[in-house]
Amino acid sequence: MIKDLFKKLKFSTYVIFHPFKGFWELKKEKKGNYASAGILIALLVFVFIARRQLTGFIFNTNDINNLNIIFEITGVLLPFFLWCIANWCITTLMDGEGNFKEIVLTSAYAITPLILINIPLIIMSNIITINEGALYYFFDTVAILWTVALLVFGLMTIHEFTLGKTILTALIAIVGMVVIIFIGLLFFALVQQIVNFVGIIYRELALRYNW
């Protein structure tokens, strides 16, 4: 069981170097599952917190005394799942072949470079000087670009899209994320307004009639 899980995790290192074949196998041969994806996301959360707390002070703009772990976790999970949901919504409409599970797995496996590159980066940031910062920022950027590329290739594979259509759906998905956030905020704001309004009406009556 654990061996199987480990194998599935190890598969992520294969995927990042062979995206088309890897993601295809991920989809068709079930070489990943929710557990392995969950572990990858947890690792990302962990790496991001480590990066926030342990990056050398030259490259660290955060107040490390002021850590709120809840914010850090939601800061990773919220965009991740928003992305998955938005992407699923859009690709379903645009004849994508992938289902929701495959989108989650693909996105989770695609963030592997972020995990792998950031660990040595944290160590490096404590050693190098600011003049050598270019190196740090270079690898930082590489991690992001690699992940973005993997995401595009992965989605292209599982949805069986062309590259152009993948990029188009990805862009629409980003717009979709914004819309979801907007609607969520709007909802909360409205509920808050209603609660406030009822409260004020009560107050007004209470003060006016000496309840």
Partner: protein
């Protein structure tokens, strides 16, 4: 679908209507009524009354000892004459005939039912109208006033039948006829459409019986006569010329079925009682004598004897203001461009604090007294009742009138503005539900000796306090001066545990460290330490309610605390662990947020917010709950039970002795004067349980049980009207209760502050922590100069300097204080010692001795 919506709407509207109606009913049934023993204050004594009123001179009311009380039957002004010296104090300046307020014994502010504020004074609105009477009392007199705004009745009928109007016209000349009829409009039902007829009949019922004349736009069936006074004044002469009488007016009103609209009478009855005894005069307004119609008006403010002892432009002397340590305003000091002095006694009520706060000078009035010195005669007014709602105001001549005056005014109903209103965007005013439940009473003391200085006033006040047990004489150690020390135990701060923010306590001075500081002080030769310990219990400095006493874990085990107690007991250190009954930051430990917290006028939980200097408003999220005075009793009772487990015999109550906050909730409304009584009771309870009490600041009510007073200000608020700061508070206390100045480590100029301690006879006081100052970063305590190591050497030096100067004078009282020259002050004590303090940077010669720059000398037997 549509129908459903319609039904829902109808149901909603019905519900709303029902609630409104129900609440309307309930508001009527719960209307506040106050029982008044009217008989007592309505008593009349016609003979006595007419006797006084008929006498041209001042009428002699009573003579007690050297004092004689006289009253004028014409103006109700009083006079207190000292038969020995022949000097008189009057309630109002004589020969004033320009300003009604100056001739008043009181003035009131009331809010009418249209939310308009009105001000009335006793002279213009009562005495001038002859609405006052006198009643004899033992050694005194009661003056009953009715302050009234009488609405004038004009001989003008707004509606008159056609026949009668023509009869009036027929008696007038042609010209007058024209004028009078121009004011009236003829109304008839002939030739109008049915709709107009019906409408006209509702407005003017008299139209049913015939044609009428109506005062043009001067009458409505809902409001009565709406014409302006000016217009009615113009019309009245014509009616008078036609021989129109009051009976005619009544007849016309009946004939035309005019609604008699009630004219609200905003009249106020109140009595002043003056009673003379050997010491002085008591002036009192009994709360029960204040009577007015509470359904149409609210009496919010009362100014009492505003010109008692007022001095005219030819008099020399000063006004004593109790701001901080005390300050004097020289009579006629010519500061005519500066706004008048005005400050609430015991500072503002924190329960009523508003988001945008007025800038304060950080100084507080601790003693409810004020004084006037005129041509070497001094009068000191002590507010005996109503002090917690009193404001002291002072001004000099040449601004509003020709007199220098100082007086107190009283807030009978607090108000605040409610801005969160849906129905009324500009916000409405909310008032305290019940008016002040206390009498207002001032005791005027007169010094009969010679100089009339502020030291004489202080002596007078000290004797008064001692006689009335409002202060208790403490044993004084004359061998060495005490050294007052305060350490802060723990303070709350936010840290992260596993990345999750948690509130916890940071240890600044543990029990063991406190002991080592005390040890070091002893080693450096300071034997007599008075030690108070803040933030040692219940989560530290900003902690939980003291329902149960739990020493903070971060400071050490319980055993360590008991060790500290054993150490102080062994070494005769006076130990005062600090307890906070006034504010609660953390609701736990048995504190009920809803029941134990005071409420403001709109019924919200009262919060004491921290103040943001940059924004000049409060910090929304940073606050402590204000404990209701009603909760004080049970809180102190349970505290004492829990506290008795420890072998200590002292307790420090700095906040209770500095702040009093009211509770304005509907259920347990407790105005500030009542709150003061409850605070006093707490002091009594604690002291009855055998504890010595250390107070800080400290307000007058806290002095009665105080065995040591820390933080007595050496400064006033430095209002621009002041001419000099004086050690009035110190002169009251010295030789009776030992006091310290504010912490020396918070002073701007340490050497000057040390010299000030010597001048003001104060014990040195320091507030320290054992930890480094940097430990205070990110905590809730933000004064960064409290690390003891940085201050230790200076503190010992300062102590030795003060000890050398003052230890001999410890039990003596201050008998004189004067500014010899610029930067040179002299304080003389009852044991014959005088201390000269030189604040300048150059040496000064005094009485054959030289005082070095920034130094002092002590002279014995100097007069």
């Amino acid at each position: 679908m549509r129908k459903i919506y319609l039904y829902m709407r109808v149901i909603l509207v019905c519900l709303l209507l029902v609630t409104v109606l129900l609440s309307g009913c309930s508001s009527i049934s719960t209307k506040i009524t106050r029982k008044v023993d009217e008989k007592e204050y309505a008593k009349e004594d016609v003979v006595f009354d007419s006797d006084i009123k008929s006498s041209e001179e001042y009428y002699n009311v009573a003579t007690v000892g050297d004092l004689q009380l006289l009253i004028s039957g014409k103006t109700t002004a009083i006079q207190v004459k000292n038969l020995k010296t022949g000097f008189s104090w009057t309630s109002n300046p004589e020969n004033n005939n320009t300003n009604d307020f100056v001739s008043s014994q009181f003035s009131v502010v009331y809010v009418d039912d249209k939310d308009k504020e009105n001000e009335r004074n006793s002279f213009a609105d009562s005495v001038k109208l002859g609405q006052y009477s006198f009643y004899p009392l033992d050694n005194g007199i009661r003056v009953n006033y009715t302050v009234n705004e009488k609405k004038k009745e004009y001989l003008v009928s707004p509606v008159i039948g056609e026949e009668r109007f023509e009869k009036i016209l027929s008696k007038l000349s042609e010209e007058d006829k024209m004028m009078l009829s121009s004011f009236y409009t003829f109304k008839t039902l002939e030739g109008v459409s049915p709709e107009v007829e019906a409408w006209q009949k509702t407005v003017f019922p008299a139209l049913r019986y015939g044609n009428i004349y109506v005062l043009s736009s001067g009458y409505s069936n809902t409001q009565g006569v709406t014409a302006s006074d000016l217009m009615l004044q113009m019309i009245e002469p014509y009616f008078v010329k036609a021989g129109y009488t009051k009976e005619d007016l009544k007849y016309d009103a009946q004939q035309n079925s005019l609604e008699e609209i009630k004219n609200d009478e905003y009249s106020i009855e109140l009595s002043i009682e003056y009673i003379l005894d050997e010491n002085g005069l008591t002036a009192k307004i009994p709360q029960k004598s204040i009577i007015y119609d509470e359904s149409i008006m609210k009496l919010t403010e009362l100014t009492f004897l505003p010109f008692m002892g007022a001095a005219d432009a030819a008099t020399e002397g000063f006004l004593l203001v109790p701001d901080g340590s005390g300050a004097i305003i020289n009579l006629n000091n010519g500061k005519k461009t500066i706004s008048a002095y005005e400050k609430r006694i015991y500072s503002a009520d924190n329960t009523l604090q508003t988001e945008i706060q007025e800038k304060t000078d950080g100084s507080q009035i601790y003693l409810p007294v004020f004084g006037v010195s005129r041509n070497n005669n001094a009068m000191l007014a002590v507010i005996e009742q109503g002090d917690a709602v009193a404001t002291i105001s002072a001004d000099v001549s040449g601004k509003l009138n020709d007199y220098n005056y100082i007086y107190s005014s009283y807030c009978l109903m607090e108000n605040s503005i409610e801005t969160n209103s849906v129905l009324n965007q500009s916000g409405g005013k909310l008032y305290q539900k019940l008016p002040l439940e206390s009498d207002i009473q001032i005791k005027y003391l007169f010094t009969d000796n010679n100089s009339g200085s502020y030291i004489d006033m202080a002596e007078c006040y000290r004797n008064y306090l001692l006689e009335n047990n409002k202060i208790s004489k403490q044993e004084q150690n004359t061998e060495s001066m005490p050294f007052a020390l305060n350490t802060i135990g723990a303070v709350s701060y936010t840290t992260t545990k596993l990345g999750i923010p948690v509130d916890t306590e940071k240890a600044l001075t543990t029990f063991a460290q406190a002991q080592s500081i005390l040890d070091e002080l002893r080693e450096s030769g300071i034997k007599n330490v008075v030690y108070s310990y803040s933030g040692w219990m219940n989560k530290g400095l900003y902690g939980t309610a003291p329902y149960k006493v739990n020493p903070v874990k971060a400071l050490g085990e319980k055993k360590a605390f008991n060790d500290l107690i054993a150490y102080v007991n062994k070494n005769n250190i006076e130990f005062f662990p600090e307890v906070n009954f006034s504010y609660v930051s953390d609701t736990g430990n048995g504190y009920s947020k809803n029941e134990d917290t005071a409420r403001d006028l709109s019924g919200n939980l009262a919060k004491n917010h921290s103040y943001n200097l940059a924004l000049q408003r409060w910090n929304e999220e940073d606050y402590q709950f204000i404990v209701s005075p009603s909760a004080l009793g049970r809180m102190s009772e349970r505290f004492l039970k829990s506290y008795s487990k420890y072998d200590v015999n002292g307790v420090s109550l700095p906040l209770l002795s500095k702040d009093i906050n009211g509770d304005y909730s509907k259920e347990s409304c407790c105005d500030r004067q009542n709150a003061l009584k409850k605070v006093e009771k707490t002091f009594t309870d604690i002291s009855k349980s055998g504890y010595k009490v250390q107070v800080d600041g400290a307000n007058a009510y806290a002095l009665s049980k105080a065995s040591f007073v820390t933080g007595v200000p050496t400064d006033s608020g430095n209002h621009y009207l002041f001419d000099e700061n004086v050690p009035f508070y110190q002169a009251v206390l010295h030789g009776v209760v030992t006091y310290s100045a504010t912490p020396l480590n918070f002073s701007g100029d340490f050497n000057a502050a040390t010299l000030k301690c010597i001048e003001y006879g104060a014990v040195p006081y320091f507030q320290w922590i054992y930890a480094d100052n940097i430990e205070l970063k990110e905590t809730d305590y933000n004064l960064y100069n409290v690390n003891y190591k940085l201050w230790f050497e200076d503190a010992v030096k300062a102590y030795k300097k003060i000890d050398k100067a003052l230890s001999a004078c410890q039990g003596a009282t201050i008998v004189a204080h004067e500014k010899v020259s610029k930067d040179l002050y002299k304080t003389a004590y009852s044991n014959g010692y005088s201390v000269y303090v030189n604040y300048s940077d150059e040496a000064v010669k005094v009485a054959d001795k030289t005082i070095k720059a920034n130094d002092y000398i002590v002279v014995k037997g100097d007069k």
